[in-house]
């Protein structure tokens, strides 16, 4: 499965964790789709189903004080980063107990504790932020990495170009992760990029990079680990192109006129969870009972998060104008 063919040596806890992370993201989002249908979650909801290996593999390679900048399709990243499912679910509901106090919703998950800088709903809007976070680290002599996730559609935006150039020019510790799921809404890669080999762009800024099978969680983790090591050693950016696929519609409004069911079905044959689970079972690293436990735990965690979100109070309307500016008390405390 991995480029070299064989899996690197994984121990059992590691394998269990990879499966657990991917599965709880999957089940969480399946439930979110239901909750959307039930009117509990509103606005836009962009599911990551099919792409879980990317967030899980990359984020495992990060240290606790590294930073993450993500997109509107970020539930998986938030969960993999260790933000609690309760505050995430409450955020999806728009409750004040949400991680962004309910103000952001699905597209704007933020978490200071884990240095999770959103949840950005402007395509490519997060890239310059990642450059700046890395610049701050460099200027303050901190050996931290900022991982920046975005889709292949974002690569056409001017912000992509400006950000790659700045990161390379100033030698900043940014890990660019292009999650290439081959579609930007309904626009296929070949209708959006004259150069479909996106890594070629990175090369044109003299940024090192690699292409990874984004359906293979171990391959992703290996590549990300290598990338992060390279960044920490050289202080310069690194570019990962993770080839993956979105199994669901772009958002809950998308009738998917632009691709065949056959194409989707074909992609599903390489479901990252099945691939890894089958491999783990075959290799004897995982057992059927493990899968059951993980599924049961995930289900329980999700039920718990829903109960939490349901019970959480709405923010009072009188607080409408909160958090436009930093209150003076917070300023004094800084």
């Amino acid at each position: 499965m991995t480029p070299g063919g064989a899996k690197p040596r994984l121990d059992r806890p590691h394998a269990l964790d990879l499966l657990r992370q991917m599965l709880r993201i999957r089940r969480f989002e399946e439930k979110c789709a239901e909750l959307y249908g039930a009117g509990k979650i509103r606005g836009f909801l962009h599911l990551y189903i099919g792409e879980e290996a990317n967030a899980v593999g990359v984020i495992r390679a990060l240290a606790a004080d590294d930073a993450i900048v993500a997109t509107y399709r970020e539930h998986g990243h938030a969960l993999a980063r260790g933000i609690g499912m309760r505050p995430i679910m409450a955020e999806m509901y728009g409750k004040a107990a949400g991680c962004s106090r309910g103000r952001g919703g699905s597209m704007h998950i933020f978490d200071a504790a884990t240095r999770f800088y959103g949840g950005n709903a402007i395509v490519a809007g997060g890239l310059p932020l990642a450059v700046g976070l890395a610049l701050a680290d460099k200027m303050q002599n901190r050996a931290r990495v900022t991982a920046c996730f975005f889709g292949e559609g974002a690569a056409a935006e001017g912000a992509f170009h400006e950000s790659l150039n700045l990161a390379a020019l100033w030698k900043l510790p940014v890990l660019f992760v292009c999650e290439n799921n081959f579609y930007a809404m309904g626009t296929a890669l070949e209708r959006s990029e004259s150069q479909t080999d996106i890594r070629r762009h990175a090369e044109s800024y003299n940024v090192n990079g690699a292409v990874v099978d984004g359906m293979d969680v171990v391959a992703v983790e290996v590549a990300a680990t290598r990338a992060v090591a390279s960044i920490r050693e050289s202080g310069t950016p690194y570019f990962l192109e993770n080839r993956t696929y979105r199994f669901r519609a772009h958002s809950m409004f998308d009738p998917e006129l632009y691709r065949d069911k056959a194409e989707v079905d074909h992609a599903k044959e390489r479901d990252p969870i099945h691939l890894f689970q089958d491999w783990g079972l075959t290799a004897g690293l995982l057992h059927d009972a493990d899968v059951k436990t993980i599924e049961r735990d995930a289900a329980a965690e999700i039920e718990d998060s829903i109960a939490f979100a349901e019970a959480a109070p709405w923010e009072p309307v009188e607080d409408l104008l909160r958090d436009v500016h930093t209150p003076l008390t917070a300023q004094a405390a800084e």
């Binding site: 509103r42 606005g43 836009f44 728009g94 409750k95 309910g102 103000r103 952001g104 919703g105 597209m107 704007h108 950005n120 709903a121 402007i122 395509v123 490519a124 809007g125 559609g153 974002a154 056409a156 935006e157 001017g158 930007a184 809404m185 309904g186 626009t187 296929a188 209708r191 959006s192 990029e193 409004f253 998308d254 009738p255 006129l257 632009y258 709405w314 923010e315 309307v317 409408l320 104008l321 436009v324």
Partner: protein, 326 residues
């Protein structure tokens, strides 16, 4: 014929592509996807990928390309998916589309139409709920319109396409599902005048786009309280139709301006200032504004509703003007 606002937009696009060989539609997901709001569904199949042109995510680039294509003799209809992303194209609009005619001493015109969805109301939170029409209405060299009705959604595009200079059409995202009747022979409409959507005697409610409907609701509620409210649909945001506004004020002597933009620097401020300019001595009370609260639009429905104009807040503002108390 029963139809929807969305279908009216689609018909208008269909007419444009059919009647004018120089017209083409370009934007993100206008083709294979059928348009984010399904306004161009089916057009790709009928007119082909050249004239229903999917673009990469590159708002500045493809809006600029639209300007260039207009200079080159085409009649581009550029769809920016929403006003939120139009910020990435604002430089091209301000510094090229709006100025090339002037900078070239009148040698070149830019017959470009830009359509975009705008507004809040769908729980899309802080980055996806802007109402920046007032910014566009500030720019000399462009015309800005906002169809509030199915007739206008159907008819404004063709007229805009005849304009030799850039025209921006704002479609409020909550309007696409609006249902109503449309005459079978409905077609182009004038785009330079405001419309009195409901006559009244005691107060004038001035709104545009989706808020016209909220103002109409407010007018009905006021009616029940014995207050007769006139409702003006601005339709054209640049230029503003001062005459229709001032004529109304001269009759009602009171006005509430409704605008989904943040209050400070809203188009409502301009309308208020113009009423000051043109009808100060006619006013029985200061012009009131019902705008959005000065907060990025929050995700939860109850907060989003509290942040934006609602029929209730419009009616309440009007009632205070007329009766001196709420």
């Amino acid at each position: 014929m029963k139809t929807t606002y969305r279908e009216a937009v689609r018909k208008a696009l269909h007419e444009a592509l059919t009647r004018d060989g120089r017209a083409f539609l370009m934007g993100e997901d206008v083709g294979r996807y059928g348009g984010t709001y399904a306004c161009s569904k089916g057009l790709l199949a009928e007119f082909g990928p050249d004239r229903v042109r999917d673009t990469p995510l590159a708002e500045g680039g493809f809006v600029g390309a639209g300007i260039g294509a207009a200079l080159g003799g085409m009649r581009p209809i550029v769809e920016i998916m929403t006003v939120n992303f139009s910020l990435l194209a604002l430089d091209q609009i301000v510094n090229n589309a709006a100025t090339i005619r002037h900078m070239s001493g009148g040698q070149f015109s830019v017959p470009l139409v830009i359509r975009m969805a705008t507004g809040a109301g769908r729980q899309l939170a802080a980055q996806h709920s802007h109402s920046l029409e007032c910014w566009y209405a500030h720019i000399p060299g462009i015309r800005v319109v906002a169809p509030a009705t199915i007739e206008d959604a159907r008819g404004m595009l063709w007229t805009a396409l005849q304009d030799p200079d850039p025209v921006i059409i704002f479609e409020h995202a909550t309007l696409y599902n609006l249902e109503g009747d449309l005459a079978d022979d409905a077609g182009a409409v004038a785009i330079d005048r405001a419309a009195v959507r409901r006559p009244g005697r005691d107060v004038t409610l001035i709104a545009y786009s989706a808020n016209v409907h909220k103002a109409m609701e407010a007018a009905e509620a006021l009616e029940a309280d014995g207050i007769s409210a006139e409702v003006i649909d601005l339709r054209s945001l640049r230029p503003l139709d001062d005459e229709t506004i001032l004529n109304s004020i001269r009759r009602t002597h009171r006005a509430v301006v409704v605008d989904e933009a943040w209050r400070t620097g809203s188009l409502a401020a301009e309308v208020s200032a113009r009423i000051m300019d043109g009808a100060f001595y006619e006013l029985d009370a200061p012009v009131a504004r019902v705008c959005s609260a000065e907060v990025p639009i929050p995700y939860p429905r109850h907060l989003e509703e509290a942040a934006t104009p609602q029929p209730g807040t419009i009616a309440a503002a009007a009632k205070i003007l007329v009766t001196g108390h709420g």
